[in-house]
Structures are given as C-alpha cells and as structure tokens.
C-alpha cells in the first residue's frame, strides 16, 4: 500500500535487503529483545488522506473563536498586530522553512545572514551591543538572563517586579531552583513600581527584572528603576515590548545591562500561544555568557564576506556540562518573521505604530469613561497600548456577556492579582478602529449596567 511520504517499492526493498544481507525488514530489528517489541499495531485511528485530514482540521479550527470571528481586545503578553503578507511570503520559502541549524555555513548563508540582520535589528531597538539568535519565548529568556546575572555577579538572588507578566515570573521561579537562585518580588503601587523599594530589595541581588510597559500597560519609571538596581550592584534587566521601542527609550540608554522580551508582537500571529520567539540582548561585556546561538561576520578563503555561528564553545554541543544553557533548537523561523516585519515597518513605521497605539488606547479610555462610565484602574499612570479598567462586576461574567454580543473586552486581571476580580486589561493595537472602540464601549455599557 503506498503512502505519499514513503517511496520504497517491493522491488526496491528486495534489492536493498539483498545488499544488506538480511532476509526481511523484521530482521533489521533483531537487536530489540522480544520482551520489548510492541507486538501489535499501534492503537490509533487509520491513516487519513490529505483531503480527509484537511476536513478534520478545518472542523477543529471552526470550533475556535479567533480574532477574525470576534472583535477582541485581548492582550496580556500576546497581541493582535497586523502581520503583512511579506512575512509569510518569506517564511514559506522551502530553503528557509526546511533548513536545519546552520552548522555548515557554506550551505546556510541565507539563514546566517538573516540572523545577523535580525541581531542587528534587536540591538537597534534595545540599544544593546549583542543579541542572540532568539530564545524560546519571552518567559524563558527572562530565566536565561538570571543565569547570566548569577555568573556575572556571583550573587544568588533575583528581584522581579510584581507588575511583570505573571507567566514570566512563574517560569523564572520554575528555573530558579536548578540555577541555585532565590526569587523575590517587589509589589506594585497603583500600577507601577517604586524605585526606592526596588533599590532596597536589590541590595544583594544578581539582577532586577522589570517590564516596560508593564503587565498593566503602565509606563514604569524605568530610568529610575535601572539606576536603583545599578546602585545596589544588581544588573538591571528590562523586559520590553518590541513595538514600544519606536516611542519609548532604548533600555541601554537608561542604564540597563540586558534587554529582552517576547517577540510575538513583531511579526508573528497569535497562534494560541506559540511558537513565537524570545529576544535577548546585552551589553558587550556579557557576550561570552550569552546563551543560544550568535552569528558573526568573517571572510572566506577568497576574501569574501560571509557569516558563521560564532562563540559556539558556549553552546551545549561543545561545552556540554559547562554550557551557558542547553538550548539547541531555538525559534529561528519566527525570529526571521520578526526581521521581515521590522524591515517592512522601518524606523518611521515603528514610530507611527507606537503613536497609533497610544492614540487609539487613549481614545478607548475616553470612550469607556464617556459611554460606559468605566474608570481606568490606575488613572494617574501613563500607559502604552493597554490599560486596566474597573467594571464593577466579576470580570469573567463581563467577558461572557460581552462575548455573547460578539466582543471580547479583555483579560481578567483577577486571574493573577488579588482584589482585582472586577478588572479588565484592555489592549488596543493599530488594528483597532475608532468604530470598533465605540462598539466596545457600547457593549461594556450594556453588560456592566
């Protein structure tokens, strides 16, 4: 029986077995003890043809309410930004899609040069000197930064703000015991973090992680937070929204040692949480501690410029138990999507995009007040593209009722923060229009009456 992904004919098999010198395919498995053979068929549903598969998955997809079927103001770490057609046009090229990690540079100049260009883009956004080729996501790169900081400072405490994404904090705490690190949180006050309080907590810390804009969408006093960390001898680590960096200052310029974050907003579709990419960049002095792959420029024997993986001794396949991390497969294709997107965007584009988010979010705050009588939770704080709003009802009920009217109004902050059970985190990207925002306000007015 043929299969589209298998090619051996009976004639092939016969000739091959003869060359090998065995009588049957079964004989090739003779080293497996009888007691360990499965001895039966896998109990799985029969093979589907491509057509049948397509029908099945289309049916599954149809039972998901995605952002094309529901007007959504969900954010909280993953955002509905516009992904232009050129991203897919590039990512679907088989030479990129189906290539392996570029360990043979002469076969992989396409991937290597792309990564070099991506590293450059990340350094431009963050102001840093070195970027790696990507990490798994915005959560694990935060854990990576803790590992860098431990080795750089010799200290074993990590300080993270409560206003940092809860999943980031959770992942850092999951990795910390294995690294021999202790994690301490600094609470927020009315939506942001107090630099003095942070400074005190940072006294014997290896690193201080804060998010900008933070999980509530609020703008932290980032330069003061970085200064407080530096005073205490801890490395300031900024977890940033890449698309905010057209209007917000680059972390390197206000004293940060490391800048990182979730890259998804820049060029990846939401895709129910992944795959996306984490970006990680630092000042030059940490280059040898940087986990993951780094592409460097060099020349070939004919004097032509070319690109190679460099400083590979840091990686698992040479240093083995002394590696800076165990990462091998990373998120190259998604980071390539990020590069294509940032190239499409350009310097004017990223500024305009930031301004659009600011204006539309400000408009949303206004309309929610005017039409639905809903006040922002942290009214005195400047925000970027997200803000928290009190609804006066349990947020899950508000969401349910709003969704029945075709609108998802935002994330229920009470899932992660005590005392905020009636609060929604509303995200407004450049994909939203004033008319859509008016609709949100009308729906919320209705369901919070």
């Amino acid at each position: 029986m043929t299969h589209p992904f298998l090619a051996l004919t009976d004639a092939d098999v016969e000739e091959m077995l003869r060359t090998i010198g065995v009588a049957s395919i079964d004989e090739l498995f003779r080293d497996i003890p009888a007691g360990m053979r499965l001895g039966r068929s896998l109990e799985l549903e029969p093979a589907l043809s491509e057509q049948e598969l397509s029908a099945h998955l289309t049916e599954l997809a149809a039972r998901n309410v995605d952002t094309t079927r529901e007007l959504s103001f969900l954010g909280a770490g993953v955002y509905d930004h516009y992904v232009p057609a050129v991203v897919d046009a590039v990512l679907q090229r088989g030479e990129f899609l189906t290539a392996y990690t570029p360990y043979q540079p002469e076969m992989s100049q396409g991937v290597l040069q792309s990564i070099f260009e991506y590293q450059t883009a990340i350094c431009e956004l963050t102001g840093m000197d070195v970027s790696n080729a990507s990490g798994y996501d915005g959560e694990t790169v935060a854990a990576d930064a803790c590992f860098i900081a431990k080795h750089a400072t010799g200290r074993t405490k990590i300080v993270v703000t409560e206003a940092t994404n809860p999943q980031v904090r959770r992942v850092v705490k999951t990795y910390a015991p294995g690294f021999g690190l202790e994690v301490v949180e600094v609470p927020h006050h009315d939506g942001t973090t107090d630099p003095d309080e942070l400074g005190q907590a940072a006294e014997d810390a290896a690193a201080v992680i804060f998010q900008q804009p933070n999980f509530f969408g609020c703008l932290e006093p980032a330069p003061d937070l970085a200064a407080a960390a530096n005073e205490a001898g801890a490395l300031p680590v900024a977890h940033v929204d890449p698309l905010s960096l057209g209007v917000l200052e680059a972390p390197a310029r206000y004293g940060c040692a490391i800048a990182l974050g979730e890259g998804q907003a820049a060029g990846n579709v939401p895709s129910y949480g992944g795959p996306h990419y984490g970006f990680l960049a630092s000042r030059r002095e940490f280059i040898r501690r940087m986990p993951g792959r780094i592409v460097g420029e060099t020349v070939d024997v004919a004097g032509e410029r070319g690109y190679v993986l460099t400083l590979q001794t840091r990686e698992q396949h040479i240093r083995r138990e002394k590696a800076t991390s165990n990462i091998t497969t990373n998120q190259t294709l998604l980071a390539l999507g990020g590069l294509v997107y940032l190239t499409w965007l350009g310097p004017q584009g990223i500024r305009e995009l930031g301004e659009a988010c600011l204006s539309l979010a400000a408009y949303a705050k206004q309309r929610l007040q005017e039409v639905a009588g809903l006040e922002p939770l942290f009214a005195d704080r400047a925000t970027f593209k997200e803000f928290a709003v009190r609804t006066g009802r349990n947020a899950h009920d508000v969401i349910r009722d709003a969704r029945a009217l075709g609108v998802h109004p935002g994330y229920a902050l009470g899932r992660d923060y005590e005392g905020l059970d009636d609060v929604l985190l509303v995200a407004v990207t450049e994909k939203r229009t004033p008319a859509e925002i008016d609709r949100l306000a009308a729906v919320l007015a209705e369901v919070t009456r």
């Binding site: 060359t19 997809a61 995605d66 260009e117 200052e249 895709s271 301004e355």
Partner: protein, 488 residues
C-alpha cells in the same frame, strides 16, 4: 551579497499604518521618550522581497536536496501542514481566549496527548516544552520533584549519562542542579554494564539515555539497565531524539523508561526552520503525573475540553501558555496521515540507513560492526591516516556533489565521525547517488587531496575563517563604521 542595511535609503518604506482623525494626541512622559530612532532598514516592499528571496537561494533545505544529518531526522515537511496551521481558527486564536472559545484547539491538544501516550507506552503528557532540550530540563525537574516528594532529594544528586550522549544531556543536568556521572560505551556500542554497575547506587537519581543511541545502535542490555536503575530506586529518562527508528515497533515505556521527551521537529515533521521552532513534549509514567507543568489539558465528562491549573505538586511552568501550538497542529496532522502506519515510517527509515551503511562500510571505517537503526556512524580515520583527508574535508566536498553533509565529529567517541541519517523520505535513487558520491570522494582522497581541501567550490562562499569570527566577534552591522574585510 549586501546586508539589508546596506540597501537602505532614507525616505523609503514598505509599511503604511492607518491614520484616524480626531484621536487624542499620542503622549509619552519626556523622561521615557525615545531619543534616537532605531536604524531599521528603509526599503520598499519589492526590495524586501528580492533581498529575502536572494538570501533563500543561498540556503539549502530538505526541499532542496538530500540532508542526511545524523540525529536531526531531516525528513520531508508535508505542505498540507503549512496550509492547515495558517487557518484563521488556529493562526488567529488568542491564547487567553476562554476555554469555550478554544474547543477546537484544546481538542487537538488532547488528541495529540492521547496519540503520544500510545506511541510511548506511558500514562500522562505535557505538551509545554518548546524543544527537546527544554523537554530534557523539564524531565529532570520532574525527577527532582518526585524525589523531593519522597524525601530523597538530598540523597539522590547524580544523573548517569553515557559518553555518546548528545551535548544537551549534560548541559540539562547542570542547569537542573544535578551532578553528572558519565558511563562508558563498550566495544559493541552499548553502555558498558560493568562500568555502570559500579556507578549506580542510592545516590543516583536517574539515567538519561537515547535508545537507539547516537551511534544508531539499540542497546542490547536494555533489560539489564532497567533492573539496575529501578533496583537502585532511580528513574529512567529517555531522550526521544531517535524515536524515528522504533515508532510502533518498541515503546520507551515498555523498555522501562519513566520519562520520555519527543522531538516533534524530528520524528513528527515540524519543519526545522533554520534552527527552530521545535516541540519537546514529555510523557511520563503515572506516578510522575502530579508534577507535570501547568496547565494540563483535560477532557471532561460533558465532552468539553479545558485547562487544569489546579495542580499543587506541579513543577510550575517552563514555557508560556500550553506550548508551541503551531507545532502541535503540524505534528498532529502528520500523525493522522499515518495512524498505525507510523510503523512503516520507522521500518523505511531503518531500511534506508542499513542500505547506505552496507554500501559504504567497506570503504569507510565502521567502528561498531552491527546492523544499525535509523542512523549510523562511520569514521574517516583511515582517510586521515592514509591521505591526510579529514571528515571535515569529506563533508565540504559532498557539497560540490549537491548534498548536505552528514553530521561530523559527533559522537565524540568516534574519531573523524560522520553520522548519517537518511530518514524514510528518500528514494533508493537518491540513496544510491549519495553513496556513489561518498565512494567517489574516497577515491579523490587518494588521488587529489587538494580538491577536497579546497572544497566547496560551488557554494556562495568558500571555507570561512571561524577563528577570526571568534577572536573579534562582529555580531551586528555597525552602520557608518562597519569594518571592511581587510580591516577585520
């Protein structure tokens, strides 16, 4: 070829952001405002497309040709998977969507979970880890949590790893706070059981093993290994990198392993993407289920699917959300196109590998004289000794023949190693063409060493100076002051 930054001209642009009238002005407090714009490229859309198209022509993928990288399983990536993962119901689904609005996604995850249980012969699954190495780390965290729960964590500090292990294994051991106990390989390519016996005791937490090993050999003493480890109260961890050899034929759970990670980007066709993404789900024996990362996908009595966060013994989270969902879609689709025929996939992979081995073993040195599984290791040691030609030279010359080279210099126990994994998605003609090329190169090694030393001749670049790259790393474009090749 120029960098995109070198093609940039001020005033050019591909993007257009919609504007609206009458909105509040955008405001950022002065002390937080951007001072210098980022120097992103300024190019029109068609230059962007040309640039990346040209870059792609300087790259080689499985779609381009034969890619026998040992331990990577470079098999065909079905195109239907790309279409399916792009369906809006998957691509545009927000991960914070309420469970009621994500039933299709949750069902897919649950079904994938069930298939992985059947394939591994184990009881519970977490889909969360983003790659094999993250799966390993998760697995070791599970080991630690298990022994902590039993009050044995102080006592059990050591993890045993064979010297043929993939480098991620020892790195994962370090990152999870364990000590490494290396164990030797015997002349047949198995773990040296006598060496092992001396090293396993009540201080051992776990074994990390790939079976078949990185040598492509099924450990003949697996039953004895199981007795030794479980006898000492330790756990057995299976690195699933080589699962392509035994799918539907032998299951890690039946071999005695308690924790398994699977590489969705190897065995189950997630495209490698130039380095990622991947997926590294873990499957575990029942007693380890309480420790799995949160959330876990559940299928309720009313038929609905949901996410369970109420798991007090969980190790926590290793990655955001439920994991790399797009990777699940592709792997699930791949598995559904095989069903029980996954067995034929492994049989073809093993047949292809043994065929190539049979054709090459007389000319290249075969360190372990056994049938292989889905991959095998040759040594170019004789060529080095007789003609001064190394595995590296063979690899570079293969490029001139239109093939991607195999993995070289791994595993470390074989000098001048060439690790070859054809996979099942290759015709006999392709295998023969590869073997013919390898045999031709061996002849060239005897007759014209310089031809090999100067290879590759036909790629976009010749051999690159990696020493230079490491000494003074240039890791980004320096705009006005980017060094020219002479200055570097």
């Amino acid at each position: 070829m120029k960098l995109i930054y070198e093609k940039s001209q001020p005033g050019r642009r591909a993007s257009a952001i919609p504007r609206h009238e009458g909105l509040p002005a955008p405001e950022v407090p002065a002390e937080l405002r951007r001072t210098e714009p980022p120097r992103l490229p300024e190019v029109p859309e068609f230059e962007l497309v040309r640039h990346f198209t040209e870059l792609s022509t300087r790259n080689f993928g499985v779609d381009t040709g034969f890619y026998p990288l040992g331990s990577c399983t470079m098999k065909y990536n079905p195109r239907i998977n790309e279409r399916l993962v792009g369906l809006p119901g998957f691509a545009q689904l927000h991960p914070h969507q309420e469970d009621e609005g994500a039933q299709g996604a949750l069902e897919l995850e649950w079904r994938l979970d069930q298939i992985l249980r059947e394939i591994t012969g184990l009881d519970a699954v977490s889909l969360q880890p983003a790659a094999g190495s993250q799966g390993e780390l998760t697995g070791l965290m599970l080991v630690r949590a298990y022994f902590e729960d039993r009050g044995e964590s102080e006592q059990r500090r050591k993890v045993v790893i064979p010297d043929t292990a993939h480098g991620t294994n020892p790195a994962s051991v370090t990152l999870s706070g364990y000590e490494l106990t290396p164990v030797q390989t015997d002349a047949r390519g198995n773990i040296d059981v006598e060496d092992l016996r001396a090293k396993v005791d009540e201080h051992t937490a776990a074994l990390m093993l790939t079976n078949p090993s990185t040598l492509g050999l099924f450990d003949e003493n697996i039953e004895e290994l199981e007795r030794i480890f479980h006898g000492a109260g330790a756990l057995m961890y299976y690195d699933g990198a080589n699962l392509n050899a035994v799918c539907g034929i032998s299951r890690p759970g039946d071999m005695g392993f308690d924790i398994v990670h699977i590489n969705l980007h190897k065995t189950f066709s997630q495209p490698h993407g130039g380095g990622g993404p991947g997926g590294g789900p873990v499957a575990v024996r029942g007693m380890l289920a309480p420790f799995l990362p949160v959330p876990v996908v559940v299928h309720r009595d009313d038929g609905s699917f949901g996410l369970d966060y109420d798991r007090p013994k969980s190790i926590g989270k290793v990655r955001g959300f439920t994991g790399p969902f797009g990777v699940f879609v592709r792997s699930y689709a791949f598995m559904r196109m095989y069903g029980p025929r996954l067995r034929e996939m492994s049989e073809a992979a093993v047949l292809n590998a043994n065929y190539v081995l049979a054709r090459l073993k007389d000319v290249y040195e075969l360190p372990y004289n056994r049938l292989c599984m889905h991959e095998f290791v040759l040594s170019a040691r004789r060529l080095k000794h007789d003609h001064g030609v190394t595995a590296l030279d063979v690899a570079k010359r293969l490029m001139d023949y239109g093939f991607h080279p195999p993995t070289i210099y791994f595993p470390l126990v074989v000098p001048e190693a060439l690790m070859i994994e054809p996979t099942e998605t290759e015709t006999k003609e392709t295998l023969d063409a590869f073997c013919d090329a390898m045999l031709a190169i061996a002849r060239e090694a005897a007759e014209d060493q310089q031809l090999l030393k100067d290879a590759p001749h036909d790629r976009p670049v010749r051999r690159l100076d990696e020493v230079r790259a490491a000494k003074n790393p240039i890791v980004k474009y320096e705009f006005d002051r980017h060094p020219t090749p002479d200055e570097q």
